[in-house]
């Protein structure tokens, strides 16, 4: 067991080193952060050179707490526009005079709650919306300054330290509060669709690379040297893990750059939208990505082993890529009825499950139990395939110039069993 783990570790380290040093991989990994940085740079440049660039909209503030007063420089310093009542703030927000409105209620000192009234945006990515960093910082600074100039009563001190808990209220064009759902869903779906496409793309690259790598080793007979040193299962597991890790690094860089850079872009063009990230969905997406990759990678390693040439492995890769692509086409159907039977069935087919579940989770169309069950189906299928392909792998690897027929596959399984 220890020997097998050592073998897997060796193969894993070498494959990861080789794969992540490839030009293609480096370019692809850095593509997303580079694009985002370029976009940010372009926006900053355009704004810097634009002579008639718009002044940022002020932040509306309504203080219903008697103890708080405004010093004249507060309003200027924080870009605040003060209103006497909540309704006045809502009216200003509806007219677009202000970007957003913070309402500090009478019971603020007790509860710490501050109402955040906002228009479009915020819900772009769905859950957990919040004001921009600039607005939050302005509110925080205002509260601390105001609390600090009062006599230092214990509750004021506590409140000054904690700041405020924001309560989000989305104000519609008619000036009435609207349910978050409508906008939230659209934003969530957009982000989820992009995530799904990126993940499927990543799974395809990883699985195809794995198949190609195995076929290349087989074609060059490097595989013979490797098999005198390690067991076929260690070789396959090490490769699957290494390329999976490389893809995970790529996804992490992509997601990380989106998390770090996209909000900055949103902040620069703050009047347009907010860009909070839905971390819950990210965790699920990651889990389904890993599971989806596992199944695809095992199959592709098997394909690489039975292919006679690298070209053939690339051609056979459609066996993995086609179902993944097909799952994109049915996303519309899932979207129209996330609780429907089609959506449920696709959630339990290993190839379509990752994308089906991600879109269903994005629109709250799947329960946690269903998500876990779907994940379990994918992982168990992957493990079963690993068992089968580890046996076919050895037989397939050692056949040069001959295609692996179904009869040979069955024979390999029988002999190994």
């Amino acid at each position: 067991m220890l020997e097998t783990l050592n073998e897997i570790r060796l193969i894993f380290a070498e494959e990861l080193r080789r794969f992540t040093r490839g030009k293609g991989y480096i370019i692809l990994t850095l593509a997303v952060p580079t694009i985002l940085l370029v976009v940010m740079g372009v926006i900053l440049t355009v704004r810097a050179v634009s002579p008639d660039r718009e002044e940022p909209k002020p932040i509306g503030i309504v203080v219903l707490l008697n103890d708080f007063t405004f010093a004249p420089d507060d309003l200027q310093r924080f870009r605040f526009l003060a209103f006497n009542t909540r309704q006045e703030g809502i009216d200003a927000l509806t007219k677009g005079t202000v970007k957003e409105v913070f309402v500090i209620p009478e019971d603020y000192l007790k509860t710490g709650r501050v109402e955040w009234l906002h228009g479009k945006g915020g819900a772009f990515s769905g859950i957990d919306p919040g004001p921009s960093d600039t607005s939050s910082a302005a509110l925080r600074a205002y509260l601390r300054t105001t609390l600090a100039i009062e006599e230092m009563m214990p509750e004021l001190l506590a409140r000054a330290v904690v700041g405020a808990t924001l309560e989000s209220v989305h104000i519609g064009e008619d000036g009435q509060p609207v349910e978050e759902d409508a906008d939230t869903k659209v934003g969530t779906i957009v982000v989820s669709l992009v995530s799904i496409l990126l993940l499927i793309f990543s799974i395809m690259i990883g699985a195809a690379s794995l198949g190609e790598a195995v076929a290349e080793e087989k074609e060059s007979r490097m595989i013979d040297v490797l098999l005198t040193c390690v067991k076929p299962l260690s070789l396959m597991a090490g490769k699957v893990l290494a390329i999976g890790t490389a893809q995970l690094i790529m996804i992490t860089v992509w997601v990380g750059s989106v998390v770090v850079i996209a909000p900055r872009i949103a902040d620069i063009i703050s009047s347009a939208f907010e860009f909070p990230i839905n971390l819950g969905l990210l965790v699920w997406a990651l889990a389904f990505f890993l599971a989806g990759y596992f199944v695809s990678a095992v199959i592709m390693a098997g394909i690489g082993a039975v292919a006679t040439k690298v070209q053939e492995a690339n051609q056979l890769a459609f066996l993995v890529i086609f179902p993944l692509l097909a799952s994109i086409y049915v996303l519309g159907l899932i979207l129209s009825n996330p609780d429907g039977s089609l959506a449920r069935v696709l959630s339990f087919i290993p190839f379509t499950a990752p994308s089906a579940m991600m879109i269903r989770l994005a629109v709250d169309g799947a329960s946690a139990l269903e998500s876990v069950a779907s994940l379990a189906v994918i992982v168990l299928t992957g493990m079963a395939l690993l068992w089968v392909f580890a046996r076919v792998f050895r037989a397939g690897l050692l056949m040069y110039g001959q295609r692996m027929s179904l009869r040979r596959v069955i024979r390999a399984l029988r002999e190994a069993g």
Binding site: E3, L10, E14, R17, R18, R21, G22, E216, E217, E219, S220, R221, M222, D224, V225, L226, L227, T228, C229, V230, K231, L398, M399, Q402
Partner: protein, 301 residues
């Protein structure tokens, strides 16, 4: 135990075709053994069975005195027929990886890799990618990789194919060093002069079946008395018992029929009063034996 490799009666069948048919061989430590045969005769399959890459349908393999376990295989160096290292990796990285696969720690593997690269004359290419090397250089790097861990048994499948004479000479020199170190060497080849130069014993197979097996000198001697080479101005009009005559480089080479003694050729020259400058009983070249044996086996089918 003095035996490095013992293959007993192994048979391998692909689909319904028997590619290795009840082949046996034994290689001692410190011995260089030649595995000969035409293309597709089963040499590579035999090597792969010896290394437990594929399993025989019947028969057994004993490697370094025991079963071909992973442990035993770490003491084997193997150079496959097709040369193909990872094209985009650096030479040094690949050698260290090959050393690590043979259970060497990274530091030792690095030291050994440097030493081997110096020995094969490729030290200055250590940081180059494999794709920047010529085919011959790649072959030498892979050869260095096979010897990195000082194996007790070295298995080489067509090691000299595609190499220029200088590199062939270098590789032979290194193989002699390995032999002196006590390693057993098995190699397959089509180049009979290489076998004659390096090997003590050989196995000749055709269509998976053994045609010849034993000490090279004995195999030659067993056939040698049927050939006589005479250097003279001319030859007698007839020599009794001779079935074939060839003229090569001013010498006459006679193949004698069964029961004919070599001295009968000399007597024919003396009877004809022809001055003989040189007379020798010629041992057949391995090439001749190879062609004769394989042709005979094919004609028999």
């Amino acid at each position: 135990m003095n035996v490095a490799l013992e293959i007993k009666d192994v048979t391998k069948v692909y689909d319904s075709r028997t590619v290795v048919d009840h082949v046996s061989l034994m290689v001692k430590r410190g011995e260089t053994f030649g595995l000969l045969g035409p293309n597709g005769s089963g040499k590579t399959t035999t090597i792969r069975m010896a290394l437990d890459i594929i399993r025989p349908e019947s028969g057994s393999v004993s490697l370094l005195g025991g079963m071909p376990t992973r442990e035993a295989l770490t003491r084997v160096g193997y150079l496959p027929e097709e040369r193909g290292l990872y094209q985009k990796s650096k030479v040094m990285d690949i050698l260290i990886y090959l050393g690590r696969l043979k259970r060497m720690d990274a530091a030792t593997a690095r030291v050994r890799a440097k030493k081997m690269l110096k020995r094969v004359g490729l030290y200055e290419y250590r940081n180059k990618k494999v794709q920047a090397l010529s085919r011959g250089m790649t072959q030498l790097v892979q050869f260095a990789g096979a010897l990195l861990h000082k194996p007790d048994l070295i298995m080489l499948d067509e090691p000299f194919a595609g190499l220029d004479p200088l590199n062939v000479h270098l590789m032979k020199e290194i193989l002699r060093e390995q032999k002196e170190r006590g390693a057993a060497i098995v190699f397959s080849t089509h180049q009979m002069p290489d076998v004659e130069e390096l090997c003590e014993r050989v196995l000749l197979i055709n269509d998976g079946q053994t045609l010849l097996y034993g000490r090279l000198a004995e195999l030659k001697r067993a056939r040698g008395t049927r050939s006589v080479r005479v250097t003279a101005d001319r030859q007698p009009e007839s020599i009794p018992g001779v079935v074939d005559t060839k003229v090569r480089n001013g010498s006459f080479e006679y193949l004698m029929g069964e029961g004919t003694k070599p001295e009968e050729v000399l007597r024919a020259y003396l009877d004809a009063s022809i001055l003989v400058e040189r007379y020798e009983i010629a041992l057949p070249s391995l090439n001749q034996i190879f062609i004769e044996e394989v042709s005979r086996a094919r004609n028999a089918k």
